[in-house]
């Protein structure tokens, strides 16, 4: 080319022809491919079905098609931006289910009703939703407050039906420029109009996307509720396309005003034997209940119930929605610790191919063996955010077992079951009986350097038990021994006598999660000995030292959908899994 002009012309031309406006949105892209696949199956000659299955990469592993992940990806997004996959995480049909993005308008919902007429009851419900979308079509801001049953510090879409309700909150500004913030205990993500940053792992680790996003880091499902018109349009579209049942009920709300209650029974297309099934909002069979004010037509509340063979359990409760209220500009700021560790995409290594060619199991083995040798340079090839706390906890471990990896059609992560023997290390529990029941309970966890790892807050003071004397007579060491014994037996009632409810709920949820992932939850528990109590005048409490050691088992989440194509650890290696009553991190 003779000058710079052709470059500029090329940019203008390509922007005009294949800019974002001229590309299908991800939801449509995925839904269309899914439909084509169904059509292909339907038009296969009978004999060809078995043949096609036998020949192609349609062969399934653990119920997952090997071609699914690539097909569901958005080719215009970098790996970390892919909404398809979550951090232990992974995502996928999310936009199809809940909607995504800011571009769809109320008209979409209305058009959909016209195109896809529903049966009478469903039609009325759809009409209520469409009016709700119209009422919320010109928002300048929205603020959602609710609670979700999850594990603290796990990703934003993880649900733990046996776990504790934790607060979750979203602020979103639509004008003059889009900004958002989503917060739950242990994680906060902020998009300030320029970039998107998430702080996690007890504030020690951060990850940044150097650009604005409409949702990232598994926040999209909640963000899509904020984009009401899109969410509703997609709910209606899916209700029609996938045969979800809609119903409408009229009743008075808590404020005595008439409300329209729309209920949708949504079915995930993730197979029942997939480890993601019912573990993340987008991959769960749910009953969704939307409450609209009949007069203002605005959405007021959303409830989400997980539907399991054993029955329903509420996992999400959005009970406060503020429309068009000014948002404090400080919400868009995020204070990061000076020594925060940044999670980065892996760079290409001189010997990258060696790592790229590993299987998930081989990668797990190399990673664990590197930890065992304290070879942090090698371990960092699999996990970039290694901090001192991690090194102290997992350094010197001995790899004992590695199992067959589990894969998922909803996740890029493989889960590699592992068993490691941790080197013996000391911990301290802060124990106090300064309560009306006069029995020793735990109020804090310290690491071997006597650095506070977590304060355990008793929001309701320890109650006086029917057999309170039995507990009140225990020494600090006896109380701690009893706590670990109850942990080993999974005696939740007994655990609650020593630890706050939320700690017990978290641990119980973790145990249930492990059972789903085919690991005996008893294998979470290391052995404890060498108990010793010391009075701390500064803390006005006893510090009970104990030594922890032994074999523990869990699943290592590991994935390679990154530019270097190397396996990267994505979860399942937090010390909180093994150092009860420290909460999972």
């Amino acid at each position: 080319m003779k000058n710079q002009q052709p470059e500029e012309n090329l940019a203008r031309l390509l922007h005009a022809v294949m800019g974002k406006a001229a590309r299908p949105d991800l939801a449509a892209r995925q839904a269309t491919l899914k439909r084509l696949r169904s059509e292909l199956r339907a038009q296969r000659p009978p004999g060809a079905q078995a043949q096609a299955k036998a020949q192609g990469p349609l062969q399934e592993t653990n119920g997952a098609s090997a071609i699914e992940p690539a097909a569901d990806r958005d080719p215009w997004r970098k790996p970390e931006e892919q909404p398809r996959y979550r951090k232990e995480r992974l995502m996928s049909r999310l936009p199809v289910r809940w909607g995504l993005g800011l571009t769809a308008a109320t008209g979409v919902a209305l058009v959909l009703i016209a195109i896809f007429p529903m049966p009478a009851a469903g039609g009325k419900a759809a009409d209520v939703m469409a009016r709700g979308a119209r009422a919320a079509a010109k928002l300048t801001s929205i603020h959602l407050r609710g609670q979700v049953r999850t594990l603290p510090a796990d990703n934003f879409s993880m649900i733990a039906p046996d776990g504790h309700f934790y607060p979750i909150e979203l602020w979103k500004q639509f004008e003059p420029e889009v900004k958002w913030r989503i917060e739950k205990p242990g994680r906060v993500a902020v998009m300030d109009g320029q970039s998107t940053v998430m702080l996690m792992d007890r504030g020690t680790t951060a990850v940044k996307l150097p650009r604005p996003t409409t949702g990232a880091f598994d926040t999209e499902w909640l963000d899509s509720i904020a984009n009401l018109s899109t969410a509703i349009a997609n709910e209606l579209k899916n209700a029609r396309a996938q045969g979800w049942k809609l119903s409408l009920d009229e009743q008075n709300g808590p404020d005595g005003r008439p409300k329209s209650i729309v209920t949708i029974f949504a079915k995930s297309d993730v197979p029942d034997n997939d480890y993601c099934k019912n573990a993340f909002v987008e991959d769960a069979d749910t009953r969704r209940v939307y409450r609209f004010d009949s007069q203002s037509e605005l959405l007021e509340a959303v409830q989400l119930y997980l539907r399991r063979p054993s029955g329903e359990v509420q996992v999400f409760d959005l009970d406060r929605i503020d429309y068009n209220q000014p948002i404090d500009p400080r919400v868009w700021g995020l204070e990061l610790p000076a020594d925060v560790s940044w999670l980065k995409d892996p760079a290409m290594l001189p010997d990258n191919a060696k790592y790229a060619l590993m299987t998930a199991k081989e990668a797990a083995r190399v990673f664990f063996e590197a930890c065992g040798r304290n070879d942090w340079e090698e371990a960092a090839k699999f996990l970039s955010s290694l901090n001192d706390s991690f090194k102290r906890f997992f350094g010197g471990l001995r790899l004992v077992t590695l199992g067959k990896p589990l894969t998922s059609r909803a996740s890029a992560s493989a889960l590699v079951p592992y068993g490691v023997e941790l080197r013996p290390q000391d911990f301290y529990l802060r124990v106090s009986n300064a309560n009306s029941a006069r029995r020793y309970v735990i109020t804090g966890v310290y690491d071997e350097r006597l650095k506070l790892a977590e304060d355990l807050t008793w929001t309701t003071p320890p109650a006086v038990l029917p057999n309170n004397d039995l507990y009140a007579r225990m020494s600090p060491v006896e109380a701690v021994k009893r706590l670990f014994d109850a942990q080993l037996r999974q005696d939740w009632a007994e655990l609650r006598n020593f630890a706050p409810d939320y700690v017990v709920d978290d641990y119980k949820a973790l145990s249930v999660l492990l059972k789903q992932r085919r690991i005996d939850p008893h294998k979470l528990v290391p052995s404890h000995d060498s108990f010793e109590a010391t009075w701390s005048p500064e803390q006005s409490a006893w510090l009970v030292k104990y030594r922890q050691s032994g074999l523990v088992q869990f699943n290592l989440a590991i994935r390679k959908d990154n530019p270097a194509g190397r396996w990267q650890v994505d979860g399942g290696i937090g010390r909180g899994y093994f150092a009860f009553p420290l909460r999972p991190d």
């Binding site: 003779k2 002009q5 012309n9 696949r37 096609a52 690539a70």
Partner: protein, 204 residues
């Protein structure tokens, strides 16, 4: 320039058509992986083609795009490789767009209208005039040309020029090193220009 173009692209195009034919045959036999690969390669540029054919009416574009893909799937066994697969898809899309306009009672649109011959020279010599850039025929032809490029080339061009991403970001998108991404971009630009020359009626 044309000699270079011949050297760079002509043999590859033949091979691409053969590959596409093989893939289409596999998909026609019911192999979902083949269908997925075809979809990944062609769904987006086909959407762009339809989108411009209906002058940016997004709802209509989405509907026609889906209809086109379904029709193409049903007719896949009739594809013989006489043209590039994407051109074949565009021909189906043209019929669908014409049907759409007919249903709407609008005059049949001429989707074969071609831009003036001077376009190619305009591209090299000065700012591309807006009326040329905005012309539907220009956009349709460029969409068709982009659709025929290898997927990596197209993705690189779109990421770099349509989305304004840095080379580093293109490298991440393509899962390549910086150097490899630079090289891909350079080859993609050459291939794009070569494809323009192979469409003499386009003459950008």
């Amino acid at each position: 320039m044309s000699t270079v173009v011949q050297d760079v692209e002509a043999p590859k195009m033949d091979q691409q058509t053969r590959d596409e034919l093989a893939l289409a045959e596999r998909a026609a036999r019911g192999e979902e992986e083949a269908l997925t690969l075809l979809y990944e390669a062609h769904a987006d540029p086909l959407f762009a083609f339809v989108y411009h054919a209906v002058d940016g009416a997004r709802q209509d574009a989405e509907e026609i795009w889906q209809d086109t893909l379904s029709a193409a799937l049903r007719a896949l066994s009739t594809y013989r490789g006489q043209s590039r697969l994407f051109s074949w898809l565009c021909s189906i899309a043209r019929h669908k767009v014409a049907d759409h306009f007919r249903r709407r009672g609008r005059e049949r649109q001429n989707l074969f209208l071609l831009p003036p011959e001077e376009l190619r020279n305009l591209m090299d010599s000065g700012p591309l005039p807006d009326d040329v850039l905005n012309q539907r025929a220009t956009r349709l032809s460029v969409a068709e040309i982009l659709g025929e490029l290898p997927t990596d080339y197209r993705n690189a061009l779109v990421a770099r020029y349509a989305d304004g991403r840095s080379v580093e970001e293109v490298a991440q998108l393509l899962a390549k090193s910086y150097k490899a991404a630079e090289s891909t971009l350079s080859r993609a630009k050459e291939a794009f220009r070569a494809a323009l020359l192979r469409h003499p009626e386009m003459n950008i």
